[in-house]
Amino acid sequence: MAVDENLKIEMGKQGVFVTTLQELYNWGRRSSVWPMNFGLACCAIEMIATTMARYDLARFGAEVFRPSPRQADLMIISGTVTKKMAPQVVRLYNQMGEPRYVIAMGACAISGGPFKQGYNVLKGIDRYIPVDVHIPGCPPRPEALLDAFITLQKKIDAQSLTGENRPRHLNPEGQGEFPVPEQGEHDLEPPSNTLVWPAPMVIR
């Protein structure tokens, strides 16, 4: 049970600090998100800049880039996802431990961007894996990535441990496997994961 916000402030003034297990848990998770050491295209350069001294992602507790999906809980899709690379991206996402989050960075990761008409470019990674935060831009500046990261932290903070809307990793029924597409004759098979991305209906 959450304590009334005003009561909490009032008690804080008297030197009594209260919290809930949920707040502690979410605080711990959002304060040490470990992104995966994984760059796809030019956005990755901006991602690298974000981790360096000038922009310093470490201020938000996310400086530990892990080269293994087993140790990472944030995947930053930084750049164009080609159809050749998409199965690998989805497989890496599957291999990350729960809870896991995805930031789609830049126009390409969102929709294919300037290469949308290309025969070999995936039109958005959200066709196969659930994306938490989208950042527009080509490429987005490091400030945009920081903003996306803060947005993700707010999202983690708002997650409840119990109830209907609890995140997938806390739900025993929530499935953690996302099918890896395969190279078909003309396109990836299947062209999208309909559970994650229901194909838009064209109404004429």
Binding site: R70, L92, Q95, L161, L170, G174, G176, E177
Partner: protein, 123 residues
């Protein structure tokens, strides 16, 4: 009561052990009860770079390769000696030249021996 001067050390050791193990235990309990396991075939795959692993990781190398490695090592070391020898060649005395010749011939003899034994033929 028998008082032992080492008892504080034991107490501190147990406390230190608990300090380290308690968070691990709590994390384990939390994961056990609140965060259900979601294993699947893709997640449990061995390889971690996004590709499907091919074949078996338990590959056996032929022991015959060991002889190649030894012979390569001998001539690799020889090259290290040959370079300064070539650089200083014009200023060398007769005795030094002969010593170097003996050294090279010894290695050539070793190579000839290995060749005669059939080591260089990959069977």
């Amino acid at each position: 009561m028998v008082s032992n001067t080492y008892i504080p050390l034991v107490v501190l050791f147990v406390a230190a052990l608990g300090f380290g193990l308690a968070p691990l235990g709590l994390a384990w309990l939390w994961a056990r009860f609140f965060s259900p396991r979601k294993p699947n075939a893709i997640k449990n795959a061995i390889y971690e770079c996004g590709l499907v692993s091919k074949g078996d990781a338990w590959v056996q190398f032929r022991s015959a390769y060991y002889l190649y490695a030894i012979i390569f090592l001998i001539f690799d070391v020889e090259a290290v000696f040959l370079l300064p020898f070539a650089v200083a060649f014009t200023g060398l005395s007769m005795a030094a030249c002969l010593a170097m010749l003996v050294f090279v011939l010894l290695l050539v003899e070793g190579l000839a021996w290995a060749w005669a034994k059939g080591v260089l033929t990959w069977a």
